[in-house]
Symmetry: C2
Subunit: 310 residues, 2 copies
Amino acid sequence: MDTEALRSFVRAAELGQFQHAADELGVTQQAVSKRIAALERELQVRLFTRTPRGVEPTLDGQAFLPHARSIVASVERAVTAVRPGSRALRIDVLGLRSAQAVVLHDYWRSHPEVDLDVVTLRADDPRVAVAAVEAGDVDASFRTVTDPAVLPPDVCMMHAFDSPLELLVGPGHPLASARELRPSQLRKHRIWVPGIAAGSEWAEFYDQLVTHFDLRIDAAGPHFGDEVLLDALADSSDVATLVGARDRYLWPEDHDLRRIPLVNPTLAYPLSLILPRTNPHPGLRGIITHLGNLPRPHGAVWRPSWSATP
Amino acid sequence: MDTEALRSFVRAAELGQFQHAADELGVTQQAVSKRIAALERELQVRLFTRTPRGVEPTLDGQAFLPHARSIVASVERAVTAVRPGSRALRIDVLGLRSAQAVVLHDYWRSHPEVDLDVVTLRADDPRVAVAAVEAGDVDASFRTVTDPAVLPPDVCMMHAFDSPLELLVGPGHPLASARELRPSQLRKHRIWVPGIAAGSEWAEFYDQLVTHFDLRIDAAGPHFGDEVLLDALADSSDVATLVGARDRYLWPEDHDLRRIPLVNPTLAYPLSLILPRTNPHPGLRGIITHLGNLPRPHGAVWRPSWSATP
DNA sequence: GTGAGCCACAACGATCGGTTGGGCACGCCT
DNA sequence: AGGCGTGCCCAACCGATCGTTGTGGCTCAC
């Protein structure tokens, strides 16, 4: 199906004449006629009744019209999403089910009119994200550089929001029935957080966490996929893991897992937003406002050293 | 833009290989390659990075992907809307801004998953609607036949809901400041309801209304369009009209018009649904349930003679 | 090194999409 | 009633496009 034919159909239905639609689209009336005929052939249905004064949608045409409008509008949005120059707002997140993506999705649901595209740079190194922001490949990136010196002059980083950590355990775990836990109560337990690349911000975060609370976190080893981790947690009576409270990564539903908030202090993983210092995408303003309105962890909060208290 | 190319793009992005997408779509790998190349040429953007193991979406490709998915899904729905045989639910209403359409829109908003198409038979004669229902061109029609004898054996009519009438007047009208009115209070005023075809259900309704309440309703004369009527109402200090409480036909906003409910008795225009007696479209059940849950006019109600008290 | 797997390019036939030109049906006006 | 304008369809033509087969380049695994 050709979207130009759909556009012709919509305009012809609205204007009531192939001729006018053709003039508007910059083709001959015969071209519109052929496009409509091709559509009708493809759909096996007559879309217009031809009258001496023009055309009028049949019942099938009437039913088809809103769908055609929707497709044309979608095509329009799709093109603007990638049009070089005036692109739609494009933001890099660590994963499509991360807390960052969830927050963006919430924002989009309350502002469905903004054109927002969420992408994922396939790179662990945050400097790749910095370079992408600098080059304009993305308008902002939810990454953190722990050393601000690596930021070029026209790129800046701001605190986005804190992601409180929760403990995720299987039903057989001794802490499974706790309503909430203090970090110190995790001291004797084994915590497994696979897939942390050495040198990444997460590795540094867990390093500081281990040192500060004297915990036992196993952050090495490859990540065999979420399902493997979920299965391991569900079966084990002594392994737990840590997840962001807003993450949709590890969702306990099918495995009867428990999410247990950690408080006193809350363990806050600080998420940052890297964006151009000059001429940021106009749509970013709304995002930043939304970030500022997110609920903050209350009570005592522990943050890694690189996070200034916001 | 060709939707087959979009389909190829979506599958290639999901499967990571042109070859697999091609196999699935029943074409050669080269065809998929050319389709993607055409898309990239049209969008002036590279959608995939080619690797020796297959392809991976670029940032632009990632941003484009959800839009492409949405378009493909829309095309799917559009085709089912007109596919002969298993069509989507299709209901005939008197006008796209009538109370009937508003009720259907409410239903669709609370059940966005149902495929519902709203069409308008361009005919005043309700027998056309009966024939359309009988022939299966529409699954149901919000029309009323005042004489049940004209219904063929396999078509039935049920009460849908009552549409209470309201008075619509301009700001200079003597009744403009009333909060509500009894029908008898309209007795000395001129009411203009243009565009009522002689012999139609509406003509009969207004006939009975005039006789019963001794009103002065001018239902003859052609209808020059809603704008003309709205302008006439806004300027005049003695002309009023009647509209359904749920209608979006004549919307007072831009003309500073007033809607005044009529009570004691409420003037209920009974809307009916004509549908096949056997094998109605399965989606109709939800509509009928929704109609039954609509709020009913309370207090005394006047209805025309053909409407049995529901 | 070699083979397997994947994508791109080239050439070719079939089809499609557009244009021009002509014809038909209907309503309007004289 | 008979021209005349308007709107759509059909026919012919031509260039572009689409899909196919065949081929080559590239990388990775063994």
